[in-house]
């Protein structure tokens, strides 16, 4: 192994470049400790919790040996258990105004821990603390961990080169805050993910690239590892070349491909997903398009059918919505020469008697049309489930159902499709055999590093220049 024993770290930081066995290290420590009390494991996001839980279960870690939570979830737990000591307005726990409530929750939890309240209780409850993905901690979250650390041995793990959530508020600086408060205990240096795939050389090359990026150097795409290819997108056929890159085959059987597009344009990502056979888009955890469809769909409106068709076009390819709407008009005025198809029948029934069951039937009929496939199955499947809940007698409203579905999927995590299109933010922490970067020049050095390390066998980089100068 790497020679780092997390159980020996009383207070420290472990730097863990991508794919170097960080989760394995945590799992191994939990298994070996066999504590009478569970280990508290915190991470950054609900998706991170779901992913880590899945991996720990896979590694055979007994579930009673650890407690897994997000830092924010943990902060809420502390505040609700010790309301007076945290001196927080109890309303913030309802999260009615997440934008202000979350920061207030963090401040309140840090304040309580700073004063030293509850530390003995925490020490009695948990044997030690691991915090994963520490690079994504903002300063109030870092304060929570810092002030809690006197209670028990604390080890934080992360990689400053993968800190890409900095747009959400100032992150704790790796050198200034993290390593100062939690001295560096070691750095993982074996590229296990690549080694396990029989591509250790490629993994080692990525570690070298990480060093270059960390040092602020450029990357020369004409001198890359054999597993890496550069697609020149400086010409007029850039889009076609990118589409070709999207179709890159994995070298192994049933291999998976992650396609990384522009973070700023989900629309562009979906376009690539719809134009690439077999590709689907990775959705953000808030399933925004599902929730907004549920909120705006008005069955009583004359535009209800149009709304459903618009939604269908958004999540499926080749729906032919305009044609369908026209046919419905024709059929309704009985100017038809051709009898109505199943789909058209469903559409007419819906327009005459708009129900949630009708929406579901209509979406189902569309999906069965030849040549139609969903490139956003996350939204479509979620919508079908929400509709099922909403159409039940005495069930929730469609909007409530959509929120329930969102929260469920937040907790469950996302199943990774074989060929997925997303952004670094959406794909961080996910792994595949092949990684395809559609706009390498647009990525800063940390996003670039995250993007480059998603695939364990091959890397395809689309760029207009053969030298990457990430900011």
């Amino acid at each position: 192994m790497t020679g780092i024993n997390l159980l020996e770290v009383k207070r420290g930081t472990v730097t863990a470049p991508a794919g170097c066995g960080k989760t394995h290290l945590i799992a191994d420590a939990i298994i070996r400790e066999k504590p009478s009390k569970p280990i508290l494991v915190l991470t950054h996001t609900n998706a991170g919790v779901a992913a880590l839980r899945g991996r720990l279960e896979k590694a055979g870690v007994p579930t009673n040996a650890y407690r897994l939570s997000t830092i924010d979830g943990w902060a809420m737990r502390l505040i609700s258990t010790f309301p007076k000591r945290s001196d927080a307005d109890p309303k913030i726990l309802k999260l009615e105004n997440p934008k202000t409530d979350y920061p207030n929750i963090r401040v309140a939890a840090a304040r309580m821990l700073k004063a030293g309240h509850g530390l003995d209780v925490i020490a009695s409850t948990y044997s030690r603390l691991f915090v994963d993905e520490y690079q994504d901690c903002n300063i109030p979250q870092h304060a929570i961990v810092y002030y809690m650390a006197p209670a028990f041995p604390t080890c934080v793990l992360g990689d400053p080169m993968q800190a890409i959530f900095d747009f959400q508020g100032k992150l704790a600086d790796w050198d200034e805050h993290v390593c100062k408060h939690f001295p560096l205990a070691g750095e993982l240096s074996t590229p296990w993910r690549w080694k396990n795939a029989g591509e250790e050389g490629f993994g080692q090359w990525l570690l070298d690239v990480r060093k270059e990026l960390l040092a602020g150097n450029t990357i020369d795409l004409s001198k890359v590892h054999a597993n890496v290819s550069w697609i020149n997108t400086s010409g007029k056929d850039a889009h076609e070349r990118r589409l070709a890159a999207c179709r890159t085959k994995a070298p192994n059987e049933n291999g998976s491909v992650l396609i990384i597009g522009e973070s700023t344009s989900p629309q562009a990502q979906r376009q690539f997903a719809s134009q690439t056979p077999g590709a689907t888009a990775v959705e953000s955890v808030d399933l925004r398009d599902l929730v907004s469809f549920a909120r705006t769909l008005d069955l009583k409106s004359t535009k209800a059918l149009d709304q459903v068709v618009d939604f269908a076009e958004d999540v499926m390819t080749n729906v032919g919505g305009t044609g369908l709407l026209k046919r419905v008009e024709t059929l309704k005025t009985e100017r038809n020469r051709k009898p109505a198809s199943d789909l058209e029948g469903a559409a007419i029934r819906f327009s005459e008697n708009p129900t949630f069951a009708g929406v579901r039937e209509l979406l189902g009929a569309m999906g069965e049309q030849a040549g139609v496939r969903s490139h956003r199955p996350g939204i479509l499947r979620g919508c079908i489930r929400a509709l099922q809940m909403a159409e039940a007698q005495g069930g929730p409203s469609f909007q409530e159902a959509a929120v329930t579905v969102r929260e469920q999927s937040r907790a469950l995590g996302r199943p990774l499709p074989r060929r997925a299109v997303g952004s670094t933010l959406l794909l961080k922490g996910l792994e595949a055999d092949v990684s395809v970067i559609l706009n390498a020049a647009d990525l800063n050095r940390r996003n670039l590093y995250v993007a480059m390390t998603r695939g364990s066998r091959r890397l395809v980089i689309c760029s207009g220049s053969n030298v990457l100068k990430p900011s």
Partner: protein
């Protein structure tokens, strides 16, 4: 400690009911204060020094509280400078159903309620050494033997085997003894066409020969069950075992700890409970009426239980020198209701002697009236001792000489609080009163007693010295003028070799000479009698 019926055992009962691992407990209307079932019974106990599992945020997070040990207050949430504690409450309302809950304002605000986990209740459950101690000498549920280690005897297989063997050993014996009945049953069955086979058998019933588990108990080398040991030995053994099991169960309740024990075994019991250890291994709640037990304990381990106006309180004696010294020399005083602080040994002896005479006449004794005599050890110590008892809510009075006076302000403060003071007439010590107040006959007896105790030579020398050579012992046996009496009193109370200044000597004098001397000076009896009035008011 405290007088009988003051509620000592009820306190032990309350602890037992609140913390004991019971699924249920029997209550009746008579358990309610004044039989008022509308007012629920409520027993609330806060426990500290929590171990990890009791302090677990996951299990008891919403119920953990903070105890400010210095300020003696409990806050609803743990605090940095407070000890983290749990509060357990047993409530019994009119339906007589006991309900155990953890107390937490914040949990109540969220309509949450819970009790300790069963396993934690079992761990906390106090061991009670009461009348029925046999229980703890067998491996029964909750017995101290089961708390000593994780070992358990597997009896089931052995018992089943034994049952089978008994059955086969008994065999067909019953057949011959029950032959007639068997043949009647067989015939009837045949007549009715019930198939029972050709021959009916009488055999030992398997169920009758089975034993319930948990009947493994302690036996001595000779096979005699240990529960046949004497009461004291049994209790001593169980207390000792409890000490060994302290890691698991830290609370022990012993009612009347001296029950069945000689003084040296009382001391051993107290020692075995860890009373003398720097960090006590157990929390023991003991009631006692034994001065031996009181003397063995420290002032901060002794609590006096008092009842007033329907409220019971337990006050710690404290560790001030005055208290600590009194515990060592007059432990029985703390077990009394009323205490007379006597200036010195002779006052103690004097009152005792008069008491002996009363008892001989068939009157109740001082002790029967719950009065204890304490020797203050000199005029300067009187009020230190008296106030110590007064602060602990004892009924106190002072009985002193007047040849030397204590600080008048201190004395005034004492009497201003309604306490009684008895003293000899101005400037007089006990000897002055005796030689000046008693009849001639009695004074002569005093002289004879002095000679008897100390020899003629010494008494002669004292008289000679006090009278400046004017008087001889023989002169003092008749024609007892005030002058002579004064000289005798001075001679009797000389600092060195005073005639009667021990408890025993003065006790004898008071019993044999003073008590019968009813014709003594009225002023003298006018001081002594109020003391007895005070005693009789107890």
């Amino acid at each position: 400690m405290g007088p009988g019926d003051v509620g000592k055992s009820s306190i032990l009962d309350a602890i037992d009911l609140c913390l004991g691992a019971r699924r249920n407990a029997q209550f009746t209307d008579a358990d309610f204060n004044n039989l008022d079932v509308e007012q629920p019974i409520s027993i609330t106990i806060t426990i500290g020094e929590l171990d990890d599992s009791l302090k677990s945020m996951e299990t008891y997070g919403n119920y953990l509280r903070g105890c400010n040990v210095e300020a003696q207050t409990i806050e609803d949430e743990p605090e940095k400078n407070c000890e983290t504690v749990l509060t357990i409450r047993l409530t019994v309302a009119g339906d007589l159903e006991p309900v155990w809950t953890l107390v937490s304002e914040r949990a109540a605000a969220q309509s949450q309620s819970r009790n300790l986990n069963w396993s934690d209740r079992v761990r906390l459950s106090p061991t009670r050494i009461g009348a029925l101690t046999d229980y703890n000498l067998a491996w029964r549920r909750g017995s101290v033997l089961n708390k000593l280690s994780e070992e358990r005897a597997d009896t089931s297989a052995a018992l089943v085997k034994a049952a089978r063997e008994a059955r086969s050993a008994f065999g067909d014996q019953a057949d011959s003894q029950l032959g007639e009945t068997l043949s009647i049953v067989a015939t009837t069955a045949q007549e009715l066409g019930i198939p029972v086979g050709d021959k009916l058998k009488a055999m030992l019933d398997v169920h009758a020969a089975s034993f319930s588990g948990g009947t493994v108990s302690l036996h001595g080398e000779t096979g005699i069950p240990l529960k046949s040991l004497g009461l004291g030995s049994t209790r001593l053994l169980i207390a000792g075992l409890q000490r060994k099991a302290a890691k698991e169960a830290t609370i022990i309740l012993v009612d009347e700890l001296e029950h069945g024990l000689e003084p040296h075994r009382i001391i051993r019991l107290i020692g075995s409970l860890g009373a003398k250890e720097k960090s006590p291994p157990l929390q023991a709640f003991l009631t006692t009426h034994s001065p031996v037990a009181v003397r063995e304990l420290n002032g901060d381990q002794l609590f006096v239980v008092r009842q007033s106006e329907g409220t019971h309180s337990a006050t710690v004696l404290g560790t001030e020198d005055e208290i600590q010294g009194t515990i060592r020399s007059f432990p029985d005083a703390f077990l009394a209701k009323s205490v007379i602080i006597c200036e010195g040994a002779s006052e103690v002896g004097f009152l005792r002697g008069l008491d002996n005479a009363d008892v001989a006449k068939g009157e109740p004794s001082l002790t029967a009236l719950g009065v204890a005599l304490v020797d203050a050890g000199g005029c300067d110590h009187i009020y230190k001792r008296a106030n110590a008892f007064y602060r602990l809510n004892y009924r106190v009075c002072v009985f002193r000489d007047d040849d030397k006076q204590p600080d008048p302000a201190t004395e005034k403060a004492f009497t201003d609080q309604g306490n009684s003071l008895f003293k000899w007439r101005a400037g007089r010590a006990l000897e002055d009163e005796l030689f000046l107040s008693l009849t001639d006959e009695a004074v002569v007896k005093l002289l004879l007693r002095a000679v008897e105790l100390h020899g003629e030579e010494l008494i002669e020398a004292h008289i000679d010295s006090e009278s400046g050579g004017k008087l001889k012992l023989a002169d003092c046996k008749s024609d007892l003028t005030t002058e002579k009496r004064e000289i005798l009193a001075k001679a009797a109370r000389r600092k060195k070799n005073s005639w009667f200044k021990t408890v025993g000597w003065m006790e004898g004098v008071a019993e044999d000479i003073v008590a019968p001397d009813r014709d003594a000076d009225e002023g003298f009896w006018g001081i002594v009698e109020p003391v007895y009035d005070w005693i009789n008011e107890s």
